[in-house]
């Protein structure tokens, strides 16, 4: 694993943690799911990635329609 990979992984974890502080309980369910997949030894499953992607897709569609 090179420096770029380690940096990318650490940054993602930091971004999630920063949101807990900033957005509070409203963000908690999503953050909790992210932390739970982190605890997995194999990382997120394809189904888990597809599920969070579907949420992002719906969010962006709603933003573009605003």
């Amino acid at each position: 694993m090179d420096v770029t990979e380690i940096g990318a992984i650490a940054s993602a974890a930091s971004a999630v943690l920063a949101l807990i502080e900033k957005y509070g309980p409203e963000a908690w369910v999503t953050i909790k799911e992210a932390v739970e997949t982190t605890k997995s030894t194999t990382g997120p499953t394809l189904a888990e990635i597809e599920a969070i992607y579907a949420r992002c897709k719906a969010d962006n569609a709603a933003i573009q329609a605003s």
Binding site: M1, D2, T4, E5, G7, A8, I9, S11, A12, A13, A15, V16, L17, L19, I20, E21, Y23, G24, P25, E26, A27, W28, T30, I31, K32, E33, A34, V35, E36, T37, T38, K39, S40, T41, T42, G43, P44, L46, E48, I49, E50, I52, Y53, R55, C56, K57, D59, N60, A62, I63, Q64, A65, S66
Partner: protein, 150 residues
């Protein structure tokens, strides 16, 4: 009550701190990072339509600001989609692509926070410029096709 319980945050920190011991492969860890950023995007993006519709007291966005925010969201979402396609297709994802997503997500979040506060941080322009530069060819082609289709 709007403050997150400290012990919950520390529990999350402890779980994430053990990241190095989890998701054994490099690809597994990068996928985890994509999942994390997807989650972060969802947290920020979900309430945005309501705020843009003026449902948050004291916050009113101009049309120009809405356009900026939409552009920023689309840039981040395009990158998420690209990585998602690679993961679904069983292809490797690169740390460079994940880092680019993280950088643009950070700009998106900074931009949104600023716009809500009645400012237009440079992060907004940065991410809009990124979209134009990175996807210049694709955007041009798509636009032409759309116009021709209409």
């Amino acid at each position: 009550m709007t403050k997150c319980k400290p012990h919950a945050r520390y529990a999350a920190l402890a779980a994430l701190a053990s990241l190095a011991a989890c998701a054994s492969s490099g690809q597994g860890k990068l996928k985890q990072s994509v999942y994390d950023i997807d989650s972060a995007y969802h947290v920020v993006a979900e309430p945005m339509p309501d705020v843009m519709a003026g449902k948050l007291p004291g916050v009113t966005l101009t049309n120009a600001e809405k356009t900026l925010v939409k552009s920023a969201s689309q840039t981040v979402f395009n990158e998420i989609t690209s990585l998602e396609a690679s993961i679904e297709g069983g292809k490797s994802i690169t740390a460079t692509a994940v880092s680019a997503l993280e950088t643009d997500f950070a700009s998106f979040e900074t931009c949104w926070t600023g716009v809500k506060a009645g400012q237009q941080p440079s992060a907004c322009a940065d991410i809009a410029t990124t979209a134009t530069t990175t996807n210049a060819t694709t955007t041009t082609t798509t636009t032409t096709t759309t116009i021709a289709g209409n």
